[in-house]
């Protein structure tokens, strides 16, 4: 215990790195998560476009078409003169302007009864957005419906009724049973980003601790003491795990507290997998720190390694940009990096719709692969340490 306390005191002496890597960069990650909150929503609302209709025909068909366009959109009143029409389009007052020419209803009925085509409408679309095109598509579909109904015979009123009936039936709405709630986007973004502060803080802290412990004169003093190698190793492992736990608890705690408090009750399983993946990656970072420490590199070199490798692993793991944006060759390389597997577990958990053994097990498998990287790196570190000890002896 006293040895463990000594190790923690040594770490606290390097508190500047804890502040920079753990606190400041983690908070940056939270800010990035918060910024994604405004651009995403769990609720869908249909867009309402500003439309103007000039009905010069005033037939049953034209009135039905006008009503159809007005439904779900915002109708902007517009005088039927050339200047008003030009101003509305030039000043982007409307996204879609429909002019129904005089005689359009009659012409459509005639064309439908014969072999003609539906008469043209005058439509203008705003140059600023694509909303107008969507409304235009809607208009064309409805006119197509009217034309088809009119071809069956009957009056304009009959054609409108038939069209409206079939239109109403054509959109079937069904609710998909969702047995699990996805994790909020901000939490996901912050969790992925935290791979960098976790890796950098844990690696630097452990590398500096080991640099202090492996100084030749100090090492001699410790080895000559009555403390057994086992006691020393247990204290070192405890300190490394403690550092990893602190980095994980700080990052994951902040993420859950600030960005995903609701998920504790709504999506505990998914949250648990995200937490497990980050914890595993923290332990992998600890093993990297252990390896770097065994190399006996300087403080500056430890910082360089932590930053460069931390960023590379985060990028290859998909933390900063979706992997689909990376070249195939890089994605292939990413398979051989630990965070890629943690990323897969986090992504999979956040998108999970149904919590079941079959959906959870593959993600746990990804976490396991990530852990294997940690074990492999740790073993290399131990082998390196033994080689150095033999060299010193």
């Amino acid at each position: 215990m006293p040895t463990f306390k000594t190790y923690m005191r040594i770490l606290l002496a390097h508190r500047i790195y804890i502040v920079i890597y753990l606190v400041i960069i983690s908070i940056t990650g939270i800010a990035i998560g918060l910024s994604t909150a405004s651009s995403s929503s769990q609720h869908f609302a249909a867009t309402s476009s500003r439309v103007a209709i000039i009905d010069r025909d005033d037939s049953e068909l034209s009135r039905a078409l006008s009503a159809h366009v007005a439904e779900g959109n915002t109708l902007v009143p517009l005088a039927d003169d050339k200047k008003s029409v030009q101003d509305a389009l030039a000043q982007d007052a409307v996204s879609y302007l429909l002019v129904i020419p005089k005689g359009w209803g009659h012409d459509l009925m005639v064309a439908a009864a014969g072999d003609g085509t539906a008469p043209a409408l005058e439509a203008s679309v705003s140059y600023r957005s694509g909303e107008g095109f969507l409304v235009d598509q809607q208009v064309k579909s409805y006119v197509q419906g009217l034309f088809g109904s009119a071809s069956l015979g009957g009056s304009q009123g009959d054609a409108v009724r038939t069209t409206d009936e079939s239109w109403g039936k054509s959109i079937g709405v069904s609710t998909i049973g969702q047995r699990a709630t996805p994790l909020p986007n901000p939490l996901l973004s912050a969790a992925l980003f935290s791979s960098y502060p976790i890796f950098a803080s844990v690696t630097v802290c452990i590398a500096l601790l080991m640099k202090a412990l492996n100084a030749k004169a100090l090492r001699g003093r410790r080895v000559a003491s009555p403390q057994s190698p086992r006691e020393r190793n247990v204290a070192l492992v405890a300190a490394c795990v403690c550092i990893a736990l602190i980095a994980w608890a700080w990052n994951f705690g902040l993420q859950v507290t600030l960005l995903g408090r609701g998920a504790i009750a709504r999506s505990p399983a998914q949250l648990g997998i995200v937490g497990l993946a980050l914890l595993t990656y923290s332990l992998v970072s600890a093993s990297v720190g252990f390896l770097v420490g065994q190399l006996g590199i300087s403080e500056n070199a430890a910082n360089a390694v932590a930053n460069i490798f931390g960023m590379v692993l985060s990028v290859l793991g998909g933390a900063w940009a979706d992997l689909s944006l990376l070249p195939d060759a890089l994605v292939a390389v990413a398979h051989f990096t630990p965070f890629y597997w943690a990323y897969r577990a986090i992504e999979g958990a956040s998108a999970m719709r149904v919590v079941s053994t079959s959906s959870v097990l593959p993600l746990v498998g990804c976490v396991g692969v990530c852990m294997l990287f940690g074990i492999a790196i740790l073993l290399v570190g131990i082998a390196l340490g033994r080689a150095r000890t033999r060299q010193l002896g």
């Binding site: 006293p2 040895t3 002496a13 001699g220 080895v223 002896g393």
Partner: protein
């Protein structure tokens, strides 16, 4: 000239042997760092281990502490064989390494406490020991300082405090006064004397012969991994047959004068440099009067006359040679 008897086992003065090394051999490939070294140190001794750079002193100490494997020989401490897992023995040993071995990240007090904790796990008992160690080396005012804020002398004192806080019975000090100002050195040497009076057995290595002569009761001189001479400082001085060193201010000295002095009985060498005539004598009753008489016979006037008795430094140079080791 090395004394052939010196290569044999060095027996301690007291019957209670704390350190016993027999036929220790340590090789680094083809290089024999320690070559069949044997020595014994009694309880309560301050034992000086001397030798030029690369003579095997530190290797011997590292073997003693089981920091190094060795090829042959036996090491016993406190009457028990010393092994890497002899934790009960290690508990009684304190080491003050040549290089200052403290944590830069910890304060003076935290450093002393952390090394003391390797030997004394109970924090309540440790507190008292740490207080005593800090007081012993006079670092009370610097308890909250980090090592980088301390001067060289204070750092050395901290290095000592870290090695003695647990009140060991055997203290191994490897050149503890290197690069220390005279005041701090004096304080450190006084402290070593006090530790010894409190009952600690001390193994002391140093390049400063006057320090060894001042504090060590017995001395072993190593060279090329072997023991080349051992005994009390007086025994060593007698062993080499070196007498006093006479320096006479003459202004000038002709070859004839130098030759006439060289012919005197008990004169081993004569040198003239910068107006001073230096005469190294072997043991003899009237060396000074004979040298001055020779100058008078040649009508050479003289000013200051110095006659210095042989020192351990003379013994060291006589036995290990005067050539520069690091350049050879």
């Amino acid at each position: 000239m090395p004394n052939p008897q010196a290569t044999e086992s060095v027996t301690p003065l007291s019957s209670e042997t704390v350190v016993s090394i027999s036929n220790l051999v340590k090789r680094y490939g083809e290089v024999v760092a320690v070559d069949h070294l044997s020595l014994g140190i009694a309880r309560g001794e301050i034992f000086g281990l001397l030798g030029p750079n690369g003579s095997g002193k530190t290797t011997t100490i590292n073997c003693l502490l089981q920091l190094l494997d060795y090829d042959h020989g036996q090491i016993e401490l406190f009457g028990k064989p010393m092994r890497p897992d002899s934790y009960d023995i290690k508990r009684k040993i304190g080491i003050v390494p040549q290089e200052v071995a403290v944590f830069d990240e910890l304060t003076v007090r935290e450093n002393v406490d952390s090394f003391c904790a390797l030997y004394v796990p109970q924090s309540s008992r440790r507190r008292e020991l740490v207080d005593r160690a800090i007081e012993f080396v006079g670092l009370q005012k610097f308890q909250g300082f980090r090592p980088k804020k301390l001067s060289g002398g204070l750092l050395r004192r901290l290095n000592i405090a870290c090695g003695i806080a647990h009140q060991p019975s055997l203290i191994i000090m490897d050149e503890p006064t290197v690069a220390v100002d005279p005041q701090s050195r004096n304080s450190i040497l006084d402290g070593i004397g006090r530790l010894n009076r409190d009952g600690a057995t001390i193994i002391y290595t140093s390049h400063y012969m006057e320090e060894v002569e001042r504090i060590c009761r017995r001395v072993l001189i190593m060279d090329h991994g072997r023991s080349v001479a051992s005994g009390t400082p007086d025994e060593l001085k007698a062993m080499i047959g070196t007498g006093e060193r006479i320096s006479v201010e003459t202004g000038t000295a002709s070859e004839a004068i130098i030759e006439s002095i060289r012919m005197l009985p008990h004169v081993r060498s004569v040198e003239f440099s910068e107006g001073m005539l230096h005469v190294q004598c072997s043991n003899g009753a009237h060396n000074l009067s004979e040298v001055l008489g020779a100058l008078a016979r040649e009508h050479v006037g003289y000013g200051r006359v110095l006659s210095e008795p042989p020192t351990l430094n003379d013994v060291f140079l006589e036995i290990t040679g005067r050539e520069l080791r690091d350049e050879s």
